[in-house]
Symmetry: none
Subunit: 198 residues, 4 copies
DNA sequence: TATGAATGAGACTTCATTCAT
DNA sequence: AATGAATGAAGTCTCATTCAT
C-alpha cells in the first residue's frame, strides 16, 4: 500500500527511535526484533527499512547521538562556572539529572557498546571519554586549588562516575524520593568523599 | 561416536561454563551462539545438548550459581566480625576482590538478568537482594553505633554498591595498580563518605 | 515534485532502456534492482513506475524490440541481393557488425529469454527464428545453386550462427583488431566451411 | 526433527548439486530459490544450510568443479595423441561429447560467471582459459606442421570454441540426429575451415 | 512527473533444538 | 558421550509494487 493519509517521515523516525530505546533498555539490542519494533510504531517489518537500512548501523548512530547530546548539554550547563567547587556541584547535578530523566538512553549508551563493530565502538566511546575527561579536569583543579582528597585522579574519576551513574539503575522519578532531594544527598556524599585532608 | 580418550563429563561441563562466561561477558547472552560455544570446547553443536538442554535455563543456572557462590564466600568472609567499622572494611575488601578477580561473572550476574524469564529473574535477584541487605545492615548499625553519615540507608547502600561494583568495568589486574592499593583507596573513600557528622 | 527543468519523458525512457541493457548484460535481469536502475538515470525507485509498470513486461518489450530492430535492419541491409554468395557475404558482415556494435543487446536477446513467461518467450523467439530462417534459406539456395557443403541445413545454420554470434563474447571494439579485419577473417572461415565439394 | 532413517549426507549433497544444476540451467542462478532447491531433494529450507552455507560460494564451487572435471577429462582423453590432425579430431569429439552429454553443466559454467565475485570469477575462468589454451596450442602446431588456415590463432580459437559449444544450445540427445553423426558433421566443418591454403 | 511512505512477499541465513546412529 | 542430519521458527534484509501527495 502507499503512503497513508497524514503519515510523515520525520515523526515516524522519532517514534522509531523512541520505541527502540525502550526495547533496547528492557531486553537489549540483540533481543530487539525489527519486526516487533516496527509494530511498536504501527508499521510492518518491511517498512522499517526506509528508516533503518542496517540494524547495527542504527544502533551505532543512536548511541553516538545520545553521547553527542550528553556532551552538548553538559558543555552548555557548565558555562560561566569558575571555581572547582562550583564545577563539581554542577557536574553532580547535571549528571544525576540526565541519568534519571533519560536513564534509558544513558543505560544503553553504556551497555550496548559491546554490540558495535570496533570502528563504531571507537566512535562512540571517544565521546564518553571526553565526558569523563571533563570530570577528571575538575578533580585535578580541585586537588590543586582546594586540597581535595584525590590520590589518583583516574581512580577517583571512575569511582565518582560509577557512584553517580548508579542512580539510573534504581531511581524511579515517581517514587517517594524527589530528584532535588536525591541530588542533594549525592552532592553531600561527593563532598565528603573529596574532603580536604585535615 | 564414543567418548574421546581423556574427556570427562564434569570437566567438559566446567569448560563449557567457563567459555560461556567469557562469551556472555564480551557480547551478551543473546549474541552467544551455542554452536560457537560448542566449538570453544571442541564439540559440535549437537553434542552440547548433553550438557545444556535449554539455553535459557543454562543461563539462569549460571547466574544463580554465581550469586550463590558470592553469598557463600561473603558469609564465610565475614565470620568473626564484631564492629560495624570492621564489617565495612571487610565488605569493601571482599567486594573489590570478587569484582576484580571474577569481574566477568559479576558483570553478567548484574547485566543478564534481563534475559531471564520472570521466575528465573526472581530467583536470581533474590540472592542479589540478600547481598545488598548485608551492606544495608552494616550501614544501619554504623549509623546507630558510630554516627555514620547515612541519611537514607537505601540510597547509601545503592550508592556504595555502585561505587564499588564500578571497579569491574575498568580495573585490569595486570595494570600498574595493585589490588591492595586499589582496595586501600576505596576503603579511604568509603570512610570519608560515611564520616561521622561533626 | 514537478518535473526538473530539462527532463523529458521520451529521453528519460531512452536513458532507462540504455541503463537497463548495461545492467542486464553485466549481471542478468534477476540481479537488476529497479531501485538501482532508477538511480542510474537520476530517479528514485517510486518514479520508475511511470516508465516501467512491470519489471518483467519491460524485459519482454525490451527483448522484443531488440529482435524487431535486428530483423528490420537485416531486411534493409539485404535489399538488392541476388546470388547466394553475395547474400552470405552480406549476412556475415551484417551479423558481425550488429554483434560487435550492439553486443550487449544481442547478448541479452539471446540469454534472458529464460526470464520470460511462456507467452513472452514465444513472442520474442518467433523473431529469432525468422532471423535464423533467413540464413537457412541462403544456405539452401547456395547448396542447390553453387554446390555448397551443406549436409544438413538445420545443423549448418545453427553452426554458423553460433560461430558468428560468438564474437560478441570476446570482441572489443577498442582492441587491436578492427571490425573490418575481423569481418574479413570470418567471411574467409565461412567460405571455407561451405566450400563446394570437389 | 532428527535424522530420518536412511538419510545420508553424501547422497543428499549429490542430489542437491544435481537439482541445482537443473534449476540454474533453466532459469539462472539468481532465480533459483534455496527453499525450492531444498524441496527438490525433499528437505526444508533450513536444512539446506548444512550443505550450502552460502549460496554464492556454492555456485562458485559448483562452477569450479565443473571446469576442473572438464579439464581432467580432457587431459585424459588426449593422452597418446601425436599429430595436430589427430589432436584436432579428438578435441572436436571430446568437446561435442561433453557439450551434449553434460550440456547443462557446461552451459552454466559459461553463463553464470557473472554471478560470481571477482575473486571467484577469476578462480573459475582461469580454468576455462587453460582449456582454451589447449585448443590454441593445437591450432598453432597445425599451422606450422600442416599449413592450416590460421591467420590469427586467438581468433580461430574463439571461433572454433563458439562453433562447437553452440551445440549445447540446441542439440537433443533424443532427437533424430545421433551424437556420432553430429560429431562427424562438425569434424568435417572444422576440417574445411582449417583447410590448408592451396 | 517525481517523491516518499508503506506494503507484503520472499530472499538468504542463523539458530536452538531434536534424535537416530 | 558425540555426531550428523534435519527441522521450523525467526531473524535481517531486499525488492517490486502501490499510491497520496
Amino acid at each position: 500500500m502507499a503512503r497513508p493519509i497524514g503519515s510523515n517521515g520525520a515523526e515516524t523516525m522519532r517514534a522509531i527511535r523512541s520505541a527502540a530505546i525502550k526495547r533496547i533498555y528492557q531486553h537489549g539490542y540483540e533481543a530487539m526484533s525489527l519486526r516487533v519494533l516496527a509494530a511498536d510504531v504501527g508499521l510492518r517489518g518491511g517498512s522499517l527499512h526506509n528508516y533503518i537500512p542496517q540494524k547495527q548501523e542504527f544502533l551505532a548512530n543512536l548511541l553516538d547521538e545520545i553521547m553527542a547530546e550528553l556532551l552538548l548539554d553538559f558543555e552548555e550547563h557548565m558555562q560561566g562556572v569558575t571555581t572547582p567547587s562550583e564545577a563539581l556541584q554542577r557536574f553532580v547535578g547535571f549528571h544525576i539529572e540526565w541519568h534519571t530523566e533519560r536513564k534509558e538512553e544513558v543505560f544503553i549508551g553504556n551497555m550496548e557498546l559491546r554490540s558495535l563493530s570496533p570502528e563504531q565502538h571507537q566512535r562512540v566511546s571517544a565521546k564518553r571519554k571526553r565526558y569523563e575527561q571533563h570530570l577528571k579536569d575538575i578533580l585535578e583543579q580541585g586537588k590543586v586549588q582546594d586540597g581535595w582528597s584525590v590520590e589518583n585522579a583516574d581512580v577517583t574519576t571512575k569511582a565518582l562516575l560509577a557512584l553517580l551513574t548508579g542512580v539510573s539503575n534504581w531511581y524511579h522519578a515517581d517514587g517517594k524520593l524527589s530528584r532535588e532531594r536525591l541530588t542533594k544527598m549525592y552532592q553531600a556524599m561527593v563532598n565528603r568523599m573529596l574532603l580536604a585532608e585535615k
